[in-house]
């Protein structure tokens, strides 16, 4: 008996030792400064995220953890409170986020006074970040002598099957284009624009992409002659001197801003507000405009030199309330129209 007992004791001691050695004590998401890390969800491309975040960390000492995905998925994660819990949603077009505006809390940044009139944070919890008009991106090497100046030109037969369009169900930039189409081709009445949409879908020849990056990359790589994307996607290539041309639809351009939104009941409110202030501050907005090809929402920051001034374009303005209500059904209707446009199964 004594042997057994002593052996068990020795065994238990060894186990404890092993466990103790193994115990590392994992910490929660924390910054090196000892403070907690700010969790930011963002659909932005990495080229935009990395420099901004790095500068924010260096100048404030707040550590940031960024999680990237499509806007729809990120909103879902915020809604379901998935781990790690989001503090700030940075990006996401206003028309996509507005229906879920109740997930975010009010904050008026210190820069609100310098924000352009049309981009003021009227709702209180939807601060604007950058301005993103919807544009057409043309690959000059592939377009030949085809003239494309607006939506109507996209119906030309020689463009059939060579148009890069993303599925509005998954991409917010595609959603913006859908709304834009309806308003532009419906001449202010979205219901009248569906006729165009049907003709447009037929000219897609069954090709619909499932990621917004595929649109601008596809055009740049020469897979498509023309693409429907947002300005920044195309502007990089223009700035780099690639054979790309940006066309602002002559029927009218809707420019929907994206924003920076603070999630309700965030535990890192101070850091989140500092972040919102930073990305809407003059420094960050200048750098974004000058080097990253986006239009600032501030009055004191010029757009990149290679982008036209908005006064030279035909701007359209959608009814945000209407859009928020109808968006789901419009997206569904587009899906149905596109499905109908596909050639019946079995035919060549």
């Amino acid at each position: 008996m004594r042997v057994k007992r002593m052996a068990c004791l020795g065994f238990a001691c060894l186990l404890c030792l092993a466990a103790g050695a193994g115990c590392g004590g994992a910490a929660g998401p924390s910054g090196p400064g000892g403070g907690p890390a700010l969790v930011v969800y963002s659909p932005h491309p990495l080229d935009l995220i990395n420099p901004i975040i790095a500068e924010f960390e260096a100048s404030t000492g707040i550590s940031v953890k960024v999680y990237t995905a499509g806007t729809g998925r990120l909103l879902e994660m915020v809604e379901k409170k998935e781990e790690p819990l989001c503090d700030v949603l940075w990006g996401g077009s206003l028309s996509v986020v507005m229906p879920k505006a109740d997930l975010f809390e009010d904050y008026t940044s210190v820069n609100e006074g310098m924000v352009q009139e049309e981009f003021r944070n009227r709702e209180g919890n939807l601060a604007r970040f950058t301005d993103l008009p919807s544009v057409l991106m043309i690959n000059l090497n592939l377009i030949g002598d085809c003239v494309v100046e607006g939506y109507a030109d996209l119906l030309q037969p020689q463009l059939r099957g060579r148009i890069a369009m993303c599925d509005p169900a998954v991409s917010s930039s595609a959603q913006e284009h859908l709304i834009n189409m309806l308003y532009a081709m419906g001449e202010g009445d979205p219901e009248a624009g569906w006729e165009y949409v049907e003709a447009f879908c037929k000219n897609l020849d069954g090709r619909l992409l499932d990621g917004s990056a595929q649109v601008y990359r596809g055009v740049a790589q020469g897979l498509f002659a023309v693409g429907l994307t947002f300005e920044e996607g195309a502007s990089h290539y223009v700035a780099a001197g690639a054979p790309i041309r940006i066309v602002y639809m002559e029927e009218g351009v809707i420019s929907t801003p994206d924003g920076v939104y603070i999630v309700k009941d965030t535990p890192h409110r101070q850091a989140a507000q500092a972040f919102a202030d930073f990305v809407t501050g003059k420094d960050a907005q200048t750098v974004i405009a000058a080097s990253l090809g986006r239009r600032s929402v501030r009055v004191d920051v010029e757009e990149p030199f290679y982008l036209p001034d908005k006064s030279t374009l035909k701007m359209l303005y959608d009814d945000k309330e209407l859009v928020a209500r109808e968006k789901e059904s419009w997206i569904r209707r587009f899906g149905e129209i596109f499905a109908d446009s596909l050639p019946p199964a079995g035919s060549p």
Partner: protein, 569 residues
Amino acid sequence: MRKERYFRDELRRLFMEYAIIPAVILTAVCVLILMAVLLYGKSSGSAAQLEAVSGQLERVVTGYRQNLEQLVERYPLFGGSLDARGRARVFEDFYGTAGRLGCEADLYILDRDWDLLLSNRGEVPGFLTPWPDISWGLPGMMEKHPGQTVVRLLEPWKNTDGGIALGLAAADPRGAQGCAVVLLGRDSLQSVLDHADTQTIIADRFGWVYASNNLNFISASNQVAPQLEQAGRFFSYDKHLYMVSRRPVCDGLFQVYVISDIQNIVFSLSASGALMVAALGLMTLWVLVSTKKVTEKKTRDFYRILDVMEGAGNGNLDSSIQIENNNEFRLIADAYNGMMASLRQQMENNRQMAEMVAAAQNKQLASQFNPHFLYNTLENIRYMCLIDPQVAQRMVYSLSGLLRYSMDSAQPQVTLGEDLEHLRNYLTILEFRFGRRFSCKIDVEPQVLSQKIPKLLLQPMIENAVKYGFGDRDTLHMELKAFLRQETFVVICRDDGAGMTPETLTELTHLLEQEENTSRHFGLYNIHRRIRLLYGPPYGVEIRSREGQGTTLVVVLPGEKEEPPCCES
């Protein structure tokens, strides 16, 4: 008989406790110790690597920082007054540092308007392009901390890869303002990382990676994976187990991570440990099953002995223990069997002795009351009554003495003296009967008179001699001697009678050795048998005879005066 079960179960339990359980515990302990040793080995290897990389990084950053400050102190860098020789000296200084630290870097000297004055590279890198009116990046940091060297990890930007930048905006000895920047490219420290067998990552305090020799733990945005940042000593990633050691460098500006893959160690040791335990488990099962049979077999002999002993306790003395195996139990069994056999033998001897004594007494009685003897003696007495009444009186006296002695139921042993007394009575009668035809001389040493002999030893010898010794002769002379010889007591009865034929002698000698008497020579057999029963061999009666010359009976008895061991009272 439930007790026997406990013994067997004890054996099995003992086996379990002292063999199986220690073996299992020992295996577990060995596996744990081995794992600990291997992990320790890995960890010290990692520690050495961590030491090396951290040390080198610290040295390089500190070295270049000092060099930067020295350059600004010593040379008039920013005023534009540096001639060719001056530039050469600056470069010498800078390249000297690079050589000493074993690590290349790029140097940029700019004036207050951010124009490039001096560099080992041709053009101004993107991160040094100034931002008018705003504070951003390295230029912003340098302007915020004038006169201090700022250290920062730069992300890839436009056409540059970035790296660790040290910047100092200050005034040179001549008072001109400007800034000096040293950039450690991402491959500057590659040599330290390349010669490692563990995965090493150098990152800044926010997790942005400067350099590494592996992409496993780096996210798409070039940051350290969150699981690694939050890990303790061990963490699991992508189904592998890793051991981490980390260290902050340069006052926490950078973190160096060293990650070792211990999946193999842990997995193989756990697997072999589990295998051993499984094997031991199987062995335990087998042992449990087989010890049953083995202990049964081993203890069967033991229980056989017990059974027979128990039977003996209940009175059954005939059973003997049969053990086939040649072991200790066999020894016990043989000893026990021998003991029981001699016990039985002794009991049988005692029984026979009692029988014999009774028989002798009976026979004696019978012979005493032998009609011939009585008839003849009474005839003689009747005759003597007429001739010599005194002799007749004496004969009656002797006869009554004879009868009294033989009816006296005393011990089977008497002293020689007593039996001689009795014999004299008999001899008297014989002498009266035969007259001068018969004589018996008694030659006995006085000290042997107290020797113990079986009762009724002497008379049958005389009777035997008288019955057969006369034959067809007239006279018979007998001699009776008794003396001590060494350890024995010898009684010799000699007659000069007819003797026996050699065949008769042989037959009689042979008869004496039998355990049962089947002949009519009862008397001698009786004596010999009783002596054997009382004292055992080699004591007994020896017959010597020569035809025509006579017969001698030699009786040998033990010389002690004590009681023989198996005497019944």
